[in-house]
């Protein structure tokens, strides 16, 4: 009996929820979020929102390690909560919260690559240069063409990775709540917007508290 939609490696890349869900997905996803946060601290990359990726290599304001790790978990929690509500409203039958939470956590695994590529020195230097220029911090950094090229390439790859992550989040929602078609797309977009606002607000207050 064939329950696959394509070859297994391709399905695992673009719709892992077909094979992995529940507690297993949750543990793997949590490990991925933790690792992405850890690497994010090394590359000064923040996942400060459901769809956000920002790099700030200037070290100002100083951010503790736990904050980098918390960002990913807060983004995941906000999206899961929002999708739980839209799922309850749109799903034709019941679904398990553990499946939704697990698959949403697992969907964030490409953020590991985002944190990794942000470690590239050229990208770091050019980001620092851009921030220096934008915030008028006194011109400590120079424009270097290879760095600008590295920055452009990294941003391009990051955009693809963010799109991939969002696609995984959508597929995870679709499989775990069994919603498809326009109903799934619209409810997912609404949930992402709500979760984005919530996660940004929580992180803003958390940042102010430290």
């Amino acid at each position: 009996m064939n329950m696959q939609t394509g070859s297994k490696p391709i399905t695992l890349l673009f719709n892992p929820s077909i094979y992995i869900a529940g507690a297993r997905a949750l543990l793997l996803g949590w490990a991925a979020i933790f690792l992405a946060g850890l690497l994010g601290a090394l590359s000064a990359t923040h996942f400060d929102g459901v769809l956000d990726v920002h790099t700030n290599p200037t070290g100002s304001p100083p951010t503790p390690l736990w904050f980098f790790i918390c960002e990913g978990f807060i983004a995941w929690l906000c999206l899961t909560a929002a999708l739980l509500i839209t799922g309850k409203l749109t799903a034709p039958g019941g679904f398990r919260v553990i499946d939704l939470a697990g698959t949403q956590a697992l969907a964030r695994w490409p953020t590991i690559f985002i944190s990794l590529i942000a470690l590239l020195p050229g990208y770091q230097r050019f980001t620092a240069y851009l921030l220096d220029q934008l915030l008028n911090r006194g011109g400590h950094f120079e424009f270097v063409t290879p760095d600008a090229f590295a920055f452009f390439c990294v941003v391009l790859v990051m955009t693809v990775l963010v799109c991939w992550t969002v696609y995984l989040m959508y597929k995870a929602y679709s499989v775990s709540c069994n919603v498809t078609g326009p109903k799934a797309v619209v409810s997912f977009i609404v949930a992402v917007i709500v979760a984005e606002v919530c996660s940004k607000t929580i992180l803003y207050f958390l940042m102010r508290a430290i």
């Binding site: 009996m1 329950m3 696959q4 077909i18 039958g93 398990r96 499946d99």
Partner: protein, 95 residues
Amino acid sequence: MKQLPTTCPSCSGELAARRLHCERCGTEVEGRFDLPLLVRLPIDDQTFLLQFLKADASLKEMARILGVSYPTVRNRLDAIIEQLKRSESGKKGKK
């Protein structure tokens, strides 16, 4: 054994049995016999349901057997149930 055809190859209408044959004594019964709803399902779905029953109707066990996740199995089952409901309401509408 050949797969039982359930729709007409000419007009796609539903097929019904006209004659049944006993394999042991050769007796034949003629009449008009509607095919059961489950028989009208695609062979893949029939196999899935059979396997599901053999697995004590446990979605978790089915997920383990098929090597897929729990929601994938549940979605497949929901799709079959939906298909059965549609067939059932379609048949009632015709009566």
